[in-house]
């Protein structure tokens, strides 16, 4: 084990690249983010842990706009994620400039994955310690959801979760019939899943970041409007009573 994990340019005897696996551990230390694709759009939900009461509400956003029609939710080292969001933005912008139309999401996620992968090849740099979920909606292609992880692979999904509670979140997501749901119904379910997987004991306060892109927003990725978010949170809190009592005051929504 020793000395095979010092750089990304070394394989271990059993064929693993430890640096990449450590990068994935960094993602697992971060709080959960989920993305679900439904009949007419994609909804993102992020459990944003609030480490201090002194933070301004809505700071350290974990959902980014990559292009008008593409959104990106991240988990892992936020600084790495920010610089990759710039990479994604440049890719989308160059594509539009060269080819005259919106970048297809599959292509964008492959390009970003290629970039992330490049940092897993050399000893001079470290891999990126973040995963992202890309989502978009297009009139012809419909809703699309892709995830990129630190090893540089990208897959398309109907629903996926990253971060510390990803297993629990995946179980909840699998219970949903997302192919038959609309965005409005899904927003409430996403909020509920985040509330379910949030660990009250270990992490106290959190903000729920919700965003969507779909027919309901005319193909534009944006944060869910305040009234819909409030309604979703109400539904989420009502759906599972038990241990939330007494902690109500700490769970606040973000300002849009």
């Amino acid at each position: 084990m020793t000395s095979y994990d010092l750089s990304a340019s070394t394989f271990s005897p059993d064929g693993r690249v430890f640096q990449v696996e450590y990068a994935m551990k960094a993602v697992e230390n971060s709080s959960t983010a989920i993305g679900i694709r439904c009949k007419d759009g994609v909804v993102f939900g992020v459990e944003k842990l609030v480490l201090s009461k002194l933070y301004e509400q809505g700071s350290n956003k974990r959902i980014f706009n990559v292009d008008r029609h593409v959104g990106m939710a991240v988990a892992g080292l936020l600084a790495d994620a920010r610089s990759l969001s710039e990479v994604a933005r440049e890719e989308a912008s160059n594509f539009r400039s060269n080819y005259g139309h919106n970048i297809p999401l599959k292509y964008l996620s492959e390009r970003v994955a290629m970039y992330v992968h490049a940092y897993t090849l050399y000893s001079a740099v470290r891999p990126f310690g973040c995963s992202f979920i890309f989502g978009s909606y297009d009139q012809d292609d419909g809703p699309q959801l892709y995830m990129v992880d630190p090893s540089g692979i990208s897959f398309g999904y109907w629903g996926c979760a990253i971060g510390k509670a990803k297993q629990a979140a995946k179980t909840e997501i699998e219970k949903l019939q997302m192919k038959d749901m609309t965005c409005r119904e899904l927003v409430k379910e996403v909020a509920k899943i985040i509330y379910i997987v949030h660990d009250e004991v270990k992490d106290k306060a959190f903000e729920l970041e919700l965003s969507w892109v779909g027919e309901v927003t005319n193909g534009k990725h944006e944060l869910v409007p305040k009234d819909i978010r409030v309604e979703a949170e109400k539904y989420a809190k009502a759906s599972f009573p038990s241990s939330v009592a007494g902690e109500e005051g700490n769970c606040s929504g973000i300002s849009t």
Binding site: S97, N98, Y99, G100, H101, P104, K106, Y107, D140
Partner: protein, 230 residues
Amino acid sequence: MEGWCWALTLECLLGKSLFQVLESQSFTMNIKKVLPQLSVLPPPIPPLLSIPHRETVVNRVMNKLSLLHDKIYCALSGSAADAQTIAEMVNYQLDVHSIEVGEDPQVRSAATLVKNISYKYKEELSAHLIVAGWDKRGGGQVYVTLNGLLSRQPFAVGGSGSSYVYGFVDAEYRKAMSKEDCQQFVVNTLSLAMSRDGSSGGVAYLVTIDEKGAEEKCILGNELPTFYDQ
């Protein structure tokens, strides 16, 4: 027919270097169509005048419709060398692009690629390409890229003979024509332009593109429809 024979003799007499594009082609698609592309270069210079660096070659039967992708063609006009080179470059870029994206390229992509080259090198180049084709999102589309602009139109004309037929196409164009009506309209326009323009003549090339693919046709001079003057 005379035009045909004359073209052959001309090919033997004149020399090489610059290609002068002189015949007309047309290009049709489902509902939208592109109209004749005719040369913008001046008529052949007699051998007695010595022009420093420009030689001309007259070819009345050159096919000015070049393929950018399976269902996207472009019509060339202006300097043949410039136009052909742009078409070749974009053909290559579209090949790579369609494999990367995993599906047939959009006509808009092809037109944007042509426009980017035309605009970037607008001082050095002298060619106008009309890009048209079929894709599953927008159906049949026609784009003009003159001097580096990009504009989608229901139909387009270009080249030296085009100025004689603007009135005709404006008056006779109908929306949602059938394929046969479209082809007839295009052939009529070409024939009128070829008869009036001194730099045009020869044969007419026609390409029809729809979701099944592209179909090329060549109509000889004596098979073109005749009008008042002919």
